[in-house]
Each structure stands twice: as structure tokens, then as C-alpha cells.
């Protein structure tokens, strides 16, 4: 699915990355805790979150996250927008709550980065 389709499904506004809407995404991770994002999210995924500070962009950069979707109508601070522009990480904002946002995307074929914890990663480490 492209970011453009994500935008349409979530009736989202594109705050950063209008020029990157053809980017493809297949997986997503939903969380407000950045340490959990660092623990479980995979490269190329969407990050669905209610966190709006610059740390969410840094976390996305560290993990090569494809785009950030801010839920519950959250809007990033000017500092967050600036950093996202600099690092070329798209930010969308949707008025749907995290549960609905995740559900709508899942129903259209986006799957979770991982299904549940306690399994093994590719490198054989327990997660």
C-alpha cells in the first residue's frame, strides 16, 4: 500500500512528506512508548503513535521507519516538523483513535511488524 492510500483510508492530513506519498508500506507498529518502538518496530514500517515531540522523529530515523502517523488528531510541534523535514520522514495526522487507525489499516492488508512477543528474530535472538 502507498502512503497516499494510507492517507485516504485514514482521512489524514500530510504534514511533512507530500512528495513521498508513492512510498510503499506493508507493515506497521502502534505504540506511545518509544522504547517499545525501538524494541519491536522494523525498518520500512509505519509508526502509529500519539507522541508528537521530536523524539518520535529521532526514533523513526534510528529504525528507518517509512512514515509516522499521529493519531487522535495529534499535531507535531514546530520543532518536530522541522526535524522531520530535515530527515525526510513523512508525518501524517489522523483524527481516528489508535485502535481504529490500526484496525482500518489491518483490514486493508497492512500487518504488524511482529504478531506477538516471545518469538525469535531472524538472527535467532529472543524478542
Amino acid at each position: 500500500m502507498t502512503l497516499r492510500e494510507v492517507k485516504e483510508i485514514l482521512e489524514a492530513e500530510v504534514i511533512v512528506g507530500e512528495d513521498q506519498l508513492e512510498k510503499e508500506v506493508k507493515t506497521a507498529f502502534s505504540a506511545d512508548l518509544m522504547s517499545d518502538v525501538l524494541a519491536f518496530a522494523t525498518a520500512g514500517s509505519l509508526l502509529l503513535t500519539g507522541v508528537t515531540n521530536p523524539q518520535v522523529v529521532r526514533t523513526a530515523e534510528i529504525l528507518d521507519i517509512a512514515a509516522i502517523v499521529m493519531v487522535r488528531g495529534k499535531w507535531p510541534s514546530q520543532e518536530t516538523i522541522q526535524l522531520a523535514r530535515e530527515l525526510r520522514i513523512p508525518i501524517l495526522s489522523t483524527r481516528y483513535i489508535l485502535f481504529e487507525t490500526s484496525g482500518k489499516l489491518h483490514a486493508r492488508g497492512i500487518s504488524g511488524c511482529i504478531e506477538k512477543v516471545g518469538g525469535k528474530t531472524d538472527a535467532g535472538r529472543t524478542i
Binding site: 522504547s35 517499545d36 521530536p54 529521532r58 538472527a123 535472538r125
Partner: protein, 144 residues
């Protein structure tokens, strides 16, 4: 086989959330440039970022020493700060002494040290109260 090496030190300022993560970004790009695999780059970036967030959250200042060899990446983190009185307790997932402003950023849930250990092949931590904390993490490049 990756052949290139790197040896460098980076200063991190305590309390400066504006720049939190900058050193981790730098380290991520350096490791990418010297030919580390994406899995190694990712693991090194995650552990460095958690360590950097810890310095910014708790310490006065700190230094991150990155050493990349053909077979491993070593990240040593050394801070001047309050130290950790009970390391065993601090290592437990969910235990945290983080103040509200750290939690508001999406951190401080007691996952940082556990994440660092999880993504390293070798993890060592030592601390002296009122002096500082040292963390040494090794990631084997052969796994990537």
C-alpha cells in the same frame, strides 16, 4: 567481508533533549558507511540511542566511544552523574526512576537497559553512586 574500521568518541550533554539522538544518528551513518550490514547498523543504533537518552535524562554529561573492527562493533558509554545504586533492580524491565519530562517523550518506562542488553551480544554495566555509570556493549558483526 566488511574490512573497514572506525574509532571515535562523541560527547553527549546531559539535560539537552533538543539534541538527544544526534550522536546515535551519526553513529548509525558511520557504521553504514564502513559497510556494516543493516541488521548490525540497526542494533548498534538502537543500543546507542537508548544509552544517549539515558545520559540526557539522568547524567550531567557523557561520552560514547564507538569502535568498529572487522568482527565486532563495540560501544562504550561513560557518564558523569548520579550513578545507579542497585543495578540488578535497574535492569528489571519496568523499573524506572525517570521524571515526568522523560516519560512525556515516550521514554522512562524501564525498558532502556533491557533493550541495550537484548540487542547486544555482550553487555556489561558498572556504576558508582554520585560518580557515574559505564556501559560496554559488543555486537558481533558475523551475525549480520
Amino acid at each position: 567481508m566488511p574490512e573497514e574500521r572506525y574509532d571515535g568518541r562523541f560527547d553527549v550533554e546531559g539535560g539537552n533533549f533538543r539534541n538527544a539522538g544526534q550522536v546515535s544518528s551519526k553513529i548509525k551513518n558511520i557504521l553504514k558507511d564502513i559497510g556494516c550490514s543493516s541488521d548490525i547498523v540497526r542494533r548498534a543504533a538502537i543500543v546507542t540511542y537508548e544509552a544517549e537518552i539515558n545520559i540526557v535524562s539522568y547524567a550531567r554529561k557523557g561520552q560514547i566511544h564507538l569502535l568498529a573492527e572487522p568482527d565486532l562493533v563495540r560501544i562504550c558509554v561513560d557518564d558523569e552523574g548520579p550513578g545507579i545504586a542497585d543495578i540488578e533492580l535497574a535492569m528489571q524491565e519496568g523499573y524506572s526512576t525517570a521524571p515526568a519530562f522523560v516519560r512525556e517523550m515516550g521514554f522512562g518506562a524501564g525498558m532502556g537497559l533491557a533493550n541495550m542488553k537484548k540487542y547486544s551480544n555482550d553487555f556489561e554495566i558498572s556504576s558508582v553512586v554520585d560518580v557515574g555509570t559505564q556501559v560496554k556493549m559488543i555486537i558481533n558483526r558475523s551475525e549480520g
